[in-house]
Amino acid sequence: MIPHRKAHTVSVLALLCLGVAACIAGGHDRARQRMWWSGLGPVLPHDTFPADCSLCHVGESWTELVDDFEFDHEAETGVALNGAHAGATCLRCHNDRGPVAVFERQGCGGCHEDVHFGRLGSGCATCHVEHNWYPVGQIELHRNTRFPLIGVHASTACRRCHPGAEVGQFVPTDTECVTCHLSDLQRATNPNHIGLGWTQNCDQCHQPRTWNNAEIDN
């Protein structure tokens, strides 16, 4: 086994083991989050709640909610909780920051930090879904740009063209071929592209269907 392949295998195994271990270690009884500590106090206004406290609270301590506690947020408040929001604890939204209505008005940005530094606008749902926040549909969305992803570009990792993609930064990349393919240009010695001055308009001979084989313009 060659060294880099061994390193590759070790790294992959380590990452996968760590990932699985992390996921398992992160597992807590979801019901724990539904505990209502006495110290939490009435962050949620109770003055419109039913008089029968036992609908929600168990026993005399008031430190936990009934086992079958359920709250139809959409029916009771008119605001549906979708995806991961359906499993969030009440205090994730109803907390000390202030009235949740103010943050609801601001959409996703009312609660979630804008890790894109405000560069991608306010339409989070264009790329993200609520149940795991993992982006989807980027190839379709790229059609809205000046550079639709065709050929091999559609199967290229985002970070190859957008170096900041890993940290949420998708600033425009210059679309001139040489911006990303400079090393290809420098290696093109048969014929010698640089020597012949062929440093611009690569697309007159090369197509994205395959980079290595040029096609002669007829």
Partner: protein, 570 residues
């Protein structure tokens, strides 16, 4: 959706309005809160005892034995009952329909004769939902002052809120692992990207109402392409490690130290330093920050770019319907003056369906920047205007402008210097969607773009049909056309999705015929097929798993992107 089994009159007005507005059969004729000779008092079932139920209204609410009660089961209609016992805050109601099974949480109302009302006022009726939010804002936002218990005050209302520092320490966060693998037959290109990451937030970390937040990721990449651009590396990236306190309704001043995203103005990026912000009595906020800016790429290299920034955010009132903010950031790269950035934001978010969100980034050049002329330059502008028409129609406009600022720090993929000066991308698009019926939605979008060399546009229109093939399904068709910089395309897309409480799947197929603009030979058509299969699983325990396979086929080549994402929130 969770099935309600318990009833909290949280924002009861919405429910009341809905219930009263919904057509229902059976007696009596319904009016929102009263009928001739009677007051109608909302109530709910708290317990079921055979053929009788206990409701959350009692003698204090003027309920008396013999009063007529009507319940509203979810399946519709009204079910009658009679009060047989009236205690101080509850009452027992005997159901009069044989076979009708009431459940805790069931709504209803009781008729109370008007003649009884003057003796003691009926409990104040709840506000309609439409006004509940606004009135709640007007009434209580940021002004929930401490109040001691007073005689006659309900026990659970308006008691002293517990401060963050008085609560038990708690933590939350997530772990995730992602495996992305790409293989392309074109010269056997492969790309592997494996990630393990997570975040942890500890609240009331030291008993002072403070917070600690940590986010990081360990990743491995292996890109194998037929040139010298191969990448193979394992990296750890610390996205956040910060300590903060304040910024609550009890403490308007907020301080954060460590590595974190600017809280007051995220446009200024991630900071290794400190930020101080405060909120005025009127809801305005302002603050300052200083520290080093990590370069926003895979390395997050820090220590070379020092920045100092300040911002002010004005709000029209406490509802924050109208707000504007201005900020300025000065940065130095390796101790040399680098960027002078001003950011302006304006948002207008009224209740009538309008939404206006805009921002402008202005780089100010001082004459020492070489390629750029002295003076201000608009390097980014975003305007997003949308209007909801009822609940089923949305129309909007998006406009954006991006130009590359001249920076010493590595933040952008910088094109050739001569092209750099005028490099920009402008885009404007309009979009609309409307529900033709509860199960049919149509949508359309059209846009134009322009840069320093070329211009073009795109358009797409589609229809989505819910529940067409089976329960929970969504079937969609779309057609699109693109005029890009190097290629034009026309194509279509079809998809079928299924989604339920524990996840779902989707199948998507797209065909586009690309016409290569720069290549002038006859061989300039490039049909491209794309097939995507995705499976999702989610659970209330916090698990989220996604498995997807994305295949592209063009010419005699194809590529496959396989992806696995596992997330566990806790």
């Amino acid at each position: 959706m969770l099935k309600s089994r318990l009833v909290l009159l949280f924002v009861a007005g919405a429910s009341c309005a809905t219930a009263w507005g919904a057509p229902q059969g059976g007696p009596p004729a319904q009016t929102p809160a009263e009928e001739e000779g009677n007051e109608l008092l909302e109530l709910r079932v708290t317990h079921v005892r055979g053929t009788s139920v206990v409701v959350d209204r009692g003698a204090n609410d003027l309920v008396r034995v013999g009063d007529r009660v009507f319940f509203r089961p979810r399946e519709g209609g009204l079910q009658p009952g009679v009060v047989t016992q009236a205690d101080e805050r509850t009452a027992v109601v005997e159901l009069q329909t044989t076979g009708f099974e009431a459940a805790p949480g069931l709504r209803g109302f009781v008729r109370i004769p008007n003649a009884r009302v003057p003796a003691a006022p009926v409990r104040a009726r709840r506000k309609p939902r439409a006004n509940a939010v606004g009135e709640a804002l007007a009434d209580s936002k940021w002004s929930n002052a401490d109040e001691d218990y007073r005689q006659g005050q309900p026990l659970l209302a308006r008691v002293r809120p517990v401060r963050p520092e008085e609560r038990p320490s708690e933590y939350s966060g997530r772990w995730y692992t992602t495996v992305d693998q790409i293989r392309s037959t074109e010269d056997d290109r492969t790309d592997a990207f494996y990630r393990v990451g997570g975040g942890l937030k500890i609240e009331n970390f030291s008993g002072r109402g403070d917070r600690v937040q940590i986010d990081g990721e360990l990743n491995y990449r292996n890109t194998d392409v037929p040139d010298d651009d191969d990448q193979r590396a394992t990296r750890f990236r610390l996205d956040r490690f910060s300590y903060s306190w304040g910024g609550t309704r009890f403490d308007p001043t907020r301080v954060e130290l460590g590595r974190f995203l600017h809280n007051g103005m995220p446009e200024f990026g991630v900071l290794d330093g400190a930020e101080w912000t405060t909120r005025t009595g009127g809801g305005d906020r302002f603050g300052v920050a200083l520290g080093f800016l990590p370069e926003p790429d895979l390395d997050y290299e820090t220590g070379r770019d020092f920045a100092l920034s300040a911002f002010y955010r004005w709000v029209q009132d406490e509802s924050e319907r109208l707000s504007a903010s201005v900020g300025f950031q000065k940065s130095w790269h390796d101790s040399n003056a680098d960027r002078d950035l001003a950011v302006l934001n304006l948002s207008y978010l009224p209740d009538d369906g309008w939404s206006v969100i805009s921002s402008a980034w202005i780089d100010i050049y001082t004459g020492s920047d070489g390629l750029k002329d002295r003076g201000p330059e608009l390097t980014q502008a975003l305007v997003n205007v949308s209007r909801s028409l009822g609940t089923d129609t949305l129309v909007g406009l998006r406009v954006s402008h991006v130009a590359l600022p001249q920076l010493q720090r590595q933040e952008f993929v910088v094109p050739q210097p001569l092209d750099f000066v005028d490099a920009h991308v402008d885009r404007a698009s309009v979009f609309a969607r409307t529900d033709l019926s509860p199960r049919t939605r149509v949508r359309a979008e059209a846009g134009m773009w322009s840069d320093e060399e070329d211009s073009g546009g795109n358009a797409e229109a589609g229809v989505e049909l819910s529940e067409l093939l089976f329960e929970g399904s969504l079937f969609g068709l779309a057609a699109f056309g693109v005029n890009g910089q190097f290629s034009d395309a026309i194509g279509g897309r079809g998809y079928l999705r299924d989604w339920g409480p524990s996840g779902g799947w989707s199948l998507e197929y797209e065909l586009a015929n690309n016409d290569l603009v720069g290549f002038t030979s006859q061989n300039d058509d490039l049909p491209q097929h794309r097939i995507r299969v995705q499976w999702d699983h989610v659970s209330i325990e916090g698990w989220s798993v996604r498995l997807s396979l994305d295949t592209q086929v063009w010419d005699s080549e194809y590529s496959v992107l396989g992806s696995l994402h596992v997330n566990r929130s806790f």
